[in-house]
Symmetry: C2
Subunit: 516 residues, 2 copies
Amino acid sequence: MNGAELLIKTALASGIEVCFTNPGTTEMPLVLALDGVPGIRTILGLFEGVCTGAADGYGRMTGKPAMTLVHLGPGFANGVGNLHNARRARTPVLNLIGEHATWHRAVDPPLHMDIEALTAVVSGWHRTCGSVETISGDVTDAIIASLQGQISSLIVPHDHQLAESKGKVAALPAFSSRRADEGAVEKATMILRQRSRSLLMLGGRALSKNGLAAAARIKAVTGCDLFTETFPSCWERGAGLPVVERTLYQPGQSNTLREYPAVILAGMEEPVTFMGLKGFDSRILGRDQEKVSLAAPGQDVVGALERLADALSAPNGSRLPKGLLAEFQPPALPGGKLTVAKACQTLAALQPEGAIVVDEGITSSSAYLPVTQRVAEHTMFTIGGGSLGWGMPCAIGAAVACPDRPVIGFQGDGSTMYTVQALWTQAREALNITTLVLSNRSYHALQLNLDRFGITSPGPVAKAVTELERPSIGWVKIAQGLGVPAVSVATAEELAREIRIALAESGPHLIEMVLQ
Amino acid sequence: MNGAELLIKTALASGIEVCFTNPGTTEMPLVLALDGVPGIRTILGLFEGVCTGAADGYGRMTGKPAMTLVHLGPGFANGVGNLHNARRARTPVLNLIGEHATWHRAVDPPLHMDIEALTAVVSGWHRTCGSVETISGDVTDAIIASLQGQISSLIVPHDHQLAESKGKVAALPAFSSRRADEGAVEKATMILRQRSRSLLMLGGRALSKNGLAAAARIKAVTGCDLFTETFPSCWERGAGLPVVERTLYQPGQSNTLREYPAVILAGMEEPVTFMGLKGFDSRILGRDQEKVSLAAPGQDVVGALERLADALSAPNGSRLPKGLLAEFQPPALPGGKLTVAKACQTLAALQPEGAIVVDEGITSSSAYLPVTQRVAEHTMFTIGGGSLGWGMPCAIGAAVACPDRPVIGFQGDGSTMYTVQALWTQAREALNITTLVLSNRSYHALQLNLDRFGITSPGPVAKAVTELERPSIGWVKIAQGLGVPAVSVATAEELAREIRIALAESGPHLIEMVLQ
């Protein structure tokens, strides 16, 4: 058994089930080991950002890492953008990076780069494997670190992959997230009892069904309001679940949150604005508000919420007052020429129970949230780190993790283009993903930003770099060229028809929504 | 005048003429400054790797930096792969990266990343601008550093871009490359006089017309053989120039170079193999060969070659012996079903004088070199760092630098897909680029690598990750969707017809060459 085989055996024994890869020569022993040690589903991406984004989507749905396998420093670099998003979402990810043989690295060959320095930028845990004897323990160390909600990156030199080993497969230690402090639960209990008006902010697993069930119980006895973190990583929503408002992230948009005398932070840090704008505080909450961290990221926030509900003598789920949980009331189908609002209403009216909605709609997303509070139960991802080109790769990971659930990508046209190669993998793996491209033919977020600076008639350069025209992007042809059936629609009726077709047929589809 | 305007004024005064950008909100003051201080041509890329690759192509042709303008850490990360290629090619590049306002960065907002650590991985020079007062000097420092043949990366916080400045535009100091040591010229002279059989290896600007003219003179009096570095960055070739053999870079391929008793290295380090393979030395030359570094990278290698030629009393160009310079003898047009060899012959037969050939053909490239030694004079780029997705972006930069010269991209299908977004910029800017995609529907380099390991019938995983089938890539549709006219050809006759059409029409074209 060589090092590569020992590594793959260890990964398999530790629960790794999927590998998203774009390998090169230095990773070929690991590719061969994936053939020799069956059990890990290996999926090719034509660009590394597809692989790392897919690992993000997989980790969000399963709570455990997918493996990526990428080629040296340049290959890893191509995946950094989406690893940044995964890092901000606290998604577990295990990256394997092949490295030149140690004796070859010494001559600084053309592809050589300081991979460790690069991995350090986005990884909570990183290491270069020092010999074949440590390889199995390196993998379990990496996986345990990733399960804490971070990126683990293990660099594996080619000679260690090929070296013969008599080593044994290391066992993965048991892992469970840390219990939140009793003092925090007590303090939150006291505040919620004393304050007439409190805010309970939910992040990470607090937005899972169990977390939301406990939050609903707390709301039932305290009347607290529920808000999300700014970029929920995996948010259960819809009928049967409590309505949680999203905390808006642009400067000034969430000023009303400062009116609550007390704030409980569950599974999240204190929220900050996305961009900085002169005259606005970077912190969304005020200095004078009383704040309690019920559970920090990485702690067992669901357990903490349940303990808090119990301490408040909250009723259990079956005895919650009517009206606390959303009832099924989807919006009616709109008609006429497509606008962002009509696109959102149409999707809301048709999206099936169990849908996983990957939201990279950027400026178009805000219209989607209010119309989907009372649709069928679904899961929503948002783009944790703001690095564009995340949605279509992430949808791959969600679809691989949950093959029986429809995945819907809600995509801006600008953001979709960054990792358009993802469509090919969606086609090859026949994944049930419907990508809705909001074609506004611009980087609309930048145009809004110019507005904020008072630029109402931008010059030729500002116009040229914020418009996606000359030429307009032919989404249907691009998708078809990558193997995905595609259509373009300009009315709400056409959109409804095409969404129904896409959801009824298996495999991926793309619908370009030409907005007015 | 704010900091952004001062920065752009300084760049313009220092000779910056082009900006390849994919900006975000933190770069908008710089975008507005590009409108307010006209004179820099600003070109949008839909992915940052397009921008950095274009800067590489521009720098190779002009010897001076293009500017890139990218968004925070994630935007820069998307450009790292092609900056790695530029770094290996010693191309001057000036990167500007917007950063959050310093007061906003302090709260670790979602897009925040350790940008300095990231820039350090690929930059010879990097700095975060500390205040509006230093901004002009920061830019000239960055440009001077880049002119030494390296990547300069300047991070500019948003508040410093917006701050008012009374500062003056800093003057760029005069720059010229360092003169090579007299001792090196003397030693090379002595060796070439003493040794019966010597090898003169040419890298960097040694492969320019002036460098080659001096090399031809040296060959005329010494009979030395001429070879390139492994990955020439900007290589003048064809009729009227001396024939220089390319040094092949895979282990064992260049063993015959060890037979020369003496080697002169002009404008390059000692060559190493691309990959490491057990049983093969990473160094291409032998330990016992006598070696002289005539001029190191960054030194004036053309001047050193001319001094060496003079010291050898070599004839000047007009009195060189017949046969030393290639005569115009293009190959005949082949016919029948396309193979790699026929594709190369067809291109060789038709490529016009002054063509710039960007070679990212990977495994298909070796057949191109021998058939183009005697075609019309042309310039050839190779992929310095081996990071895929370089060719089409690089072609953009070459076409912007030399609008009157046809640019021909010789592309593998696998490598083309990494930065396929480049086609959109080629269309928007109406650049005279003909992209020839060698469609072998595989990562053929990886299949060859499996062969080297003795794997003749790879398992399902190894097959799946090295084949670009299921689905096959529809190049014509993808190109058309991105605004570039495209056709697919399967015979040499069709290819010849389509190359003629593409070269005769202005603007970009893509030709898929379906290989047998």
